[in-house]
């Protein structure tokens, strides 16, 4: 289906259509919207990580002047168990409902227990302070070892592990078990000349989008509701709010604002149903915004993990067996990113015998949300670290070792399907040639390399293409633009229609104005929504050919579309001049009415993405501080529609991964209270921490997309963790298996090695 041809528009570095509004402050983000008569809503959050709610007394708060509504769990309907599909994260609507507002129990510090709406934030704050909540405090369960211990305190007494061959006889904190295997793992290890094994931990980290969650909700007395919010998926906000509150889907309109980053963290709801309940009770619109503290304590984060990997290999480097034991924290409710983590862990390699076991585990932390390639960075950090050690032990170059075992077209992926055309080997070959790979290193410096992988998603998208009366083009779609996707949509429409990019404008429309779209997630927008835009453009072309044929009085199949105009096929005896899109549009009233193209699809064959990252670091032997000196990201994009924004994805993912590797982590006290819920002490990389991030885009066309596009948004965060860790290993001679590689951890390891 992919068509090799010379492109005129795609692949160029055009200026995004929403750009001017974003550099001038005109663009409206989540917190920028207001309505007349609007109230300010705020949430009272649990001061305990694990407790039963005995009683909530709101009497004093309700007497404060200016307080118009108070909501607690009692104001929310009971929601039955049902799996959440279509989003990026795993979960259950019943859990979503109690995560949004606790009922009988709080399962993390910061869990919502009540909310108020008042005429000012100051009065709302005063009302929160006047609400009295009586708790029975329970022991917090704060990590995987504690949660999985035999005598562990149970977070949910009704939770029995799903997915085990036999139903367990007693409840536990392990929500689910998953297993993939192939061949005979014992035989595979027996055939190996060398067997290596390691256990690796990664901490709880946050997506770290700069824009806090925000919304305005308004519901009228007839039950018709509107939500304005920043989200990766307004159709998901609609369905989730409908389920959590028992409202009719058709009665909820969700209007997406611009979105200030999401990375998976804005694929669920936190405030929207609460604001709706407050709006219903007060009869007025209610605005809610999270503080940064609330964002850390009550949204996101990504799973902390413990992963044990074992690899058996022949002396020549051929893998004979691989096993993985993977435990992922889900937070207070089930549904971590364990499953995709398990599916990705060995995806880049051919191995005849493997066993992958995964555990989804409850702990008293916020329910995890998707975070860019959810699950993959953690398990692949473990695997790619161990492969690095194996290469060292076998004295084989780490690129050669990976090349020897790399998957290519026709290989059966560990997670099931056979790969179509993929670009892993091409990334490895490029890495070998990259000047970074052969550059000289100084004292205390080291280089690390690692591979990254993500499936990428397809899913449902719709788009309309409207041709305006002068031949300019309006694309209407429903995928929130987080990183320049309007530009990609416009480029693809312009390419198909044969018109200049500047003549195409793109609208991200609300739930009542666009066809259904799944979330902006899974790296799917440029692939799937792009495909819908291409198909809708082809719909327009078909209509234009029809109109031209009718105008010329010839058969429709004798008309071709070339360079933005209808022309008769060569040899067709039609004494006519070509008709441009503008001419057809101008005449459309006489040829059948306005030109409106549309497409809706469930996109298949998203095209897996692979990457290789290289990091050069220097480690200060006296302080343990790591400086990243050079970083190179190489990734197969299939076809880069807008190369600058593809590079941007690679660079941004690299830096998030560097942060995850070096300094980012949730730090808890013994009571389960997060100690660093702010940008001061949750240390995301700042500009002065980094070098330029070099990028090489590899293009191995995805055969399932007309232009060969693969998703590019998530792969970039997968490889940096191990690339940095392997560089630290090279610089220090010590393997430190736990992230983050913070200065105290590195210095302690250096001193332990000296002793």
């Amino acid at each position: 289906m992919s068509e090799a041809r010379d492109y005129k528009v795609i692949g160029t570095r055009v200026i995004r259509p929403d750009g001017v509004d974003k550099v001038t402050g005109r663009a409206n983000f989540g917190a920028d919207f207001s309505l007349p008569g609007m109230l300010y809503g705020k949430v009272l959050r649990s001061p305990h990580a694990h407790a039963r709610i005995k009683k909530i007394d709101t009497a004093a708060a309700s007497k404060i002047e200016g307080v118009y509504a108070i909501a607690t769990g009692a104001d929310f309907p009971k929601v039955g168990h049902e799996e959440i599909t279509g989003g990026e994260g795993a979960g259950d609507f019943a859990d979503l409902a109690t995560n949004v507002m606790a009922r009988d129990k709080v399962v993390y510090h910061g869990h919502a227990v009540a909310a108020v709406a008042a005429i000012s934030s100051a009065i709302a704050d005063a009302a929160l302070a006047a609400i009295k909540v009586e708790y029975e405090v329970l022991t917090p369960v704060m990590d995987l070892d504690a949660a999985m211990a035999d005598n562990a305190t149970l977070i949910d007494e009704r939770l029995f592990t799903a997915g085990l061959p036999q139903k367990p006889t007693k409840p536990s904190n392990v929500a689910a078990y998953m297993e993939f295997k192939r061949g005979d793992i014992a035989q595979g290890f027996a055939e190996a000349d060398v067997v290596v094994e390691g256990t690796y931990r990664t901490p709880t980290v946050h997506q770290g989008y700069i824009e806090p969650h925000a919304c305005v909700a308004s519901i009228n007395q007839g039950g018709q509701a509107t939500i304005w919010c920043c989200t990766q998926g307004h159709f998901d906000v609609r369905s989730m709010t409908s389920k959590v509150l028992g409202l009719n889907v058709a009665d909820i309109r969700v209007i997406p604002s611009e979105i200030g980053g999401g990375f998976g963290g804005k694929t669920t709801v936190y405030l929207e149903p609460v604001a709706m309940v407050l709006s219903k009770k007060s009869g007025r619109p209610v605005k809610m915004t999270m503080t940064r503290d609330e964002v850390f304590r009550a949204s996101g984060p990504a799973s902390a993990t413990k992963c044990t990997i074992k690899i058996g290999a022949k002396k020549d480097g051929t893998f004979t067996a691989m096993s993985a034991w993977l435990a992922y924290e889900a937070g207070g409710y089930k549904g971590s990113s364990m499953a995709p983590g398990a599916m990705c862990v060995f995806a880049p390699y051919v191995v005849p015998h493997f066993l992958i076991q995964g555990y989804d585990v409850l702990v008293n932390k916020p329910k995890v949300a998707a975070y860019r390639a959810p699950g993959a960075p953690q398990s692949m950090y473990a695997c790619e670290s161990l492969i690095d050690d194996l290469a060292r032990q076998l004295k084989i170059d780490p690129i050669e070792l990976r090349l020897k075992n790399a998957v290519s077209a026709g290989s059966q992926a560990a997670y099931g399907p056979k790969f179509n055309a993929i670009g892993f080997k091409e990334c490895l070959e490029a890495a070998k040639k990259h000047p970074n790979y052969s550059a000289k290193l100084g004292p205390n410096e080291g280089r690390g390399l690692a591979a990254g992988f993500w499936f990428n998603a397809g899913m449902q998208s719709s788009a309309e293409v409207h041709i305006n009366e002068n031949g300019t083009v309006t694309v209407v779609e429903g995928s929130p633009d987080i990183g320049g996707s309007r530009a990609s949509m416009a480029l693809m429409a312009a390419e198909e229609l044969g018109v200049p990019y500047e003549q195409v404008r793109v609208l991200v429309a609300d739930t009542e104005s666009a066809g259904y779209n799944n979330v902006t997630g899974g790296s799917r927008v440029t692939f799937a929504t792009g495909m819908a835009v291409i198909q809708a453009s082809r719909d327009i072309i078909a209509q234009c050919k029809q109109r031209a044929a009718a105008t010329w009085g010839i058969e429709e199949e004798l008309v071709e579309w070339q360079d933005g105009q209808a022309i008769p096929k060569p040899g067709v005896n039609a004494d006519v001049k070509p008709l441009s899109l503008a001419q057809i549009a101008a005449n459309s009233g006489r040829t059948g009415g306005p030109l409106l193209g549309r497409a809706s699809l469930n996109a298949r064959g998203p095209g897996p993405g692979f990457s290789i990252n290289m990091a050069d670091v220097r480690v200060d032997p006296e302080t343990g501080k790591v400086d990243v000196l050079r970083f190179t990201a190489i990734q197969d994009a299939g076809k880069a529609i807008h190369p600058a924004y593809v590079e941007g994805q690679m660079q941004g993912g690299a830096v998030q991964g560097i942060g995850w590797a070096l300094n980012e982590e949730y730090i808890y006290d013994a009571k389960g209270v997060m100690q660093n819920a702010g940008f001061l002490d949750y240390r995301m990389p700042v500009a002065s921490d980094l070098p330029m991030i070099d990028t090489w885009i590899i293009e191995v066309a995805n055969p399932s997309h007309p232009y060969g596009v693969r998703g590019v948004g998530e792969v970039p965060i997968v490889a940096p963790l191990a690339a940095v860790a392997n560089a630290v290993r090279a610089a220090t001679g010590i393997r430190i298996p736990d992230l983050p590689l913070s200065p105290p951890r590195i210095l302690a390891a250096l001193e332990a090695a000296k002793a």
Binding site: D125, D293, E622, T623, G624, K625, L662, N663, I667, Q675, N676, G678, F679, L680, D681, R683, P685, V686, S688, D689, S742, P743, P744, L747, A748, E751
Partner: protein, 293 residues
Amino acid sequence: MQSFAYAAPETVQQALDVLAEHQGAGRRVQVMAGGTDLMVQMRLIDGSPRTIVDIKKLAETNRLDIGAKEIYIGAAIPGAVLTASKPLVACLPGLVEAVDLIGSSQIQGRASLGGNLCNASPAGDTISALVASAGVCVIASKGGQREMPVESFVVGVGKNALKPGEFLLGIKFQRPAKGTADAYLRFIPRTEMDIAVAGAGVSVTLDANGTCTAARVAIAAVAPTVIAVPAAADALIGSKLDAAALDKAGKACSAAASPISDKRGTADYRRTVVGVLCRRATAIAAGRAKETR
């Protein structure tokens, strides 16, 4: 019930009057210079009503004097002004680099030396540099001005020696003699935007032979307050600031430290690193001292 109020007096006497008036009425009052700590504390820790007395409009808190004998730095001058003052950088480079380390460019537009000192954080970047350079606090008091060495000004975590009704006007120093220079280093996990995990301020005086004749060392974030470490200074005095002397001074700093483990670092880590910082800061100060000799 007290409500919030804001006052921006234009003379020291007016400021003292506002403070006295509130003190007399038992109403909460707080002095603000740049406000970069105050605003965060009001948001995150205690947002209760008070009168905020802005001291940025006073001549005495804005004066920067680099005299032949004495240097005076007004308490409310923003960091951006201090770091742009070439004469100040020439006299007290270590102090200026400590000022420059407080927060981002944005914070530098507001944050002041006086505020950083009065905030009295154990990790306050400027405090160890002030102690190393023997800064003296100039305090506005009902009876007039009084002075006090910086070392005795900070009395506990977040606590300073100001009495009710007083505020800090500025800090003065003897202009460093020939052969004297200072340096400040801190350790943070990133390159910017963090609070010191440990810090060390050092001032040394070298004679014509390169022998250290005077030294002061102060360390940060390793005790409830910034502390002077005379043992480290003693290790330097009389030496040529060779590796052995530096090592001894570093060890003295590690020995003097009584750090805690928290979100910013472990106690062991801080103890080790403060010694490293002392050594490195001393080497920088020594290099500078040689240039001024």
